[in-house]
């Protein structure tokens, strides 16, 4: 597993919740949206165990209904509990992202200085 997909693993639940919070989607749409924002490393199948877990924990709900193109698809909607969890993940991410950026970018600058 690449470093990137290992890092992503911890935050994938949050990313999936964020997509579903915007609008209800079915599996294939969800994987396309993740790829559109640049998360190309998520192998498409990995969303399904996550979707099952989120359903089991009451974060999202699935419902079969006709899709735009016609046939039935299972659409996912976020629940109130899921919205709460998403807010918490967003908050935690904000707390983490600045110090991590700060540290890792500093490393990059040092590297550049020694290169010069």
């Amino acid at each position: 597993m690449s470093i990137r997909s290992q890092l992503l693993k911890g935050i994938l639940d949050g990313c999936i919740l964020a997509v579903i919070a915007e609008e209800s989607v079915y599996g294939y749409e969800l994987s396309r949206k993740l790829q559109q924002v640049g998360l190309n490393d998520v192998s498409e199948g990995t969303i399904y165990p996550v979707l099952l877990r989120l359903q089991k924990n009451g974060m999202i709900e699935g419902e079969m209904r006709p899709s735009d193109s016609g046939p039935n698809r299972k659409y996912y909607d976020i629940t109130a509990q899921g919205e709460e969890a998403l807010e918490m993940i967003q908050e935690e991410w904000r707390i983490l992202v600045d110090p991590v950026n700060e540290l890792l970018q500093r490393g990059k600058i040092n590297e550049r200085e020694t290169d010069d």
């Binding site: 079915y26 599996g27 199948g45 399904y48 165990p49 099952l52 079969m64």
Partner: protein, 222 residues
């Protein structure tokens, strides 16, 4: 949509898969379906969802390996881990209905015919002992359930095994079924008749068998 309708839709849609994708998907499906602990309804929902995804991906030139990864067994185990468990009650209802509609009417009809024909050659006893009847019925039910579960386990374990010798599985399943059947016959022969018996004539046996068979057909067509 109930599980039966989803299985139907799944069967039809699977035909649109390419040969490689079909092989990959069918193994995944068989492996997940033969895990008897997970809920059938949720399993079929998931399987249909995966199939729809694969079909859409296939149109864009993706393969099952691109989508679900190179380790189908690990992937399936991840899915099974997250699927809700089947309620014990629905297993019981399933076996009770199979027993009542698929086994009981045939036993009754065969018994009726045998009791009708046999007196032409020898003396027969059309008494039924309640104790013996109860014990044999329970025993048969438990045995049938055990054998079915065993067969499912054997298939489940063999799906992703490479260079797998299928004849070994056949021998194993045959042996278990034979031993089970043998034990059942021995026990039902040696079981003593305790308590009250009642007369259960050939025509009553035929009639009752016919009625239950008729009901089972009506239930099935609904």
């Amino acid at each position: 949509m109930n599980a039966k309708q989803m299985i139907e839709e799944n069967n039809q849609k699977r035909e649109q898969l390419t040969e490689d994708n079909e092989k990959y998907y069918s193994d995944l499906m068989l492996y997940i379906r033969t895990n008897w602990q997970v809920s059938e309804q949720h399993t079929e929902e998931l399987l249909l969802e995966l199939l729809n995804h694969l079909l859409e991906g296939q149109q864009e030139g993706k393969t099952a390996i691109d989508i679900f990864g190179e380790e189908p067994k690990e992937y399936a185990d991840q899915l099974i881990e997250q699927l809700p468990e089947e309620e014990k009650r629905s297993w019981f209802t399933f076996f009770a209905s199979v027993f009542l509609f698929q086994i009981v009417p045939y036993v009754l009809i065969i018994r009726g015919v045998v009791l009708l024909v046999l007196p032409l050659f020898t003396e027969v006893n059309d008494q039924v002992n309640i104790f013996k009847l109860l014990i044999t019925a329970i025993l048969l039910g438990v045995m049938a359930m055990g054998v079915v579960r065993y067969i499912m386990n054997v298939i489940h374990r063999s799906v992703f095994k490479k260079n797998h010798a299928e004849w070994k599985d056949s021998v194993k399943v045959g042996a278990v079924a034979a031993v089970g059947m043998g034990a059942f016959i021995l026990i039902s022969v040696w079981l003593p008749e305790v308590g009250p018996s009642f007369r259960f004539t050939w025509w009553l046996s035929l009639l009752l068998g016919g009625v239950i068979w008729g009901i089972s057909k009506v239930v099935k067509s609904n």
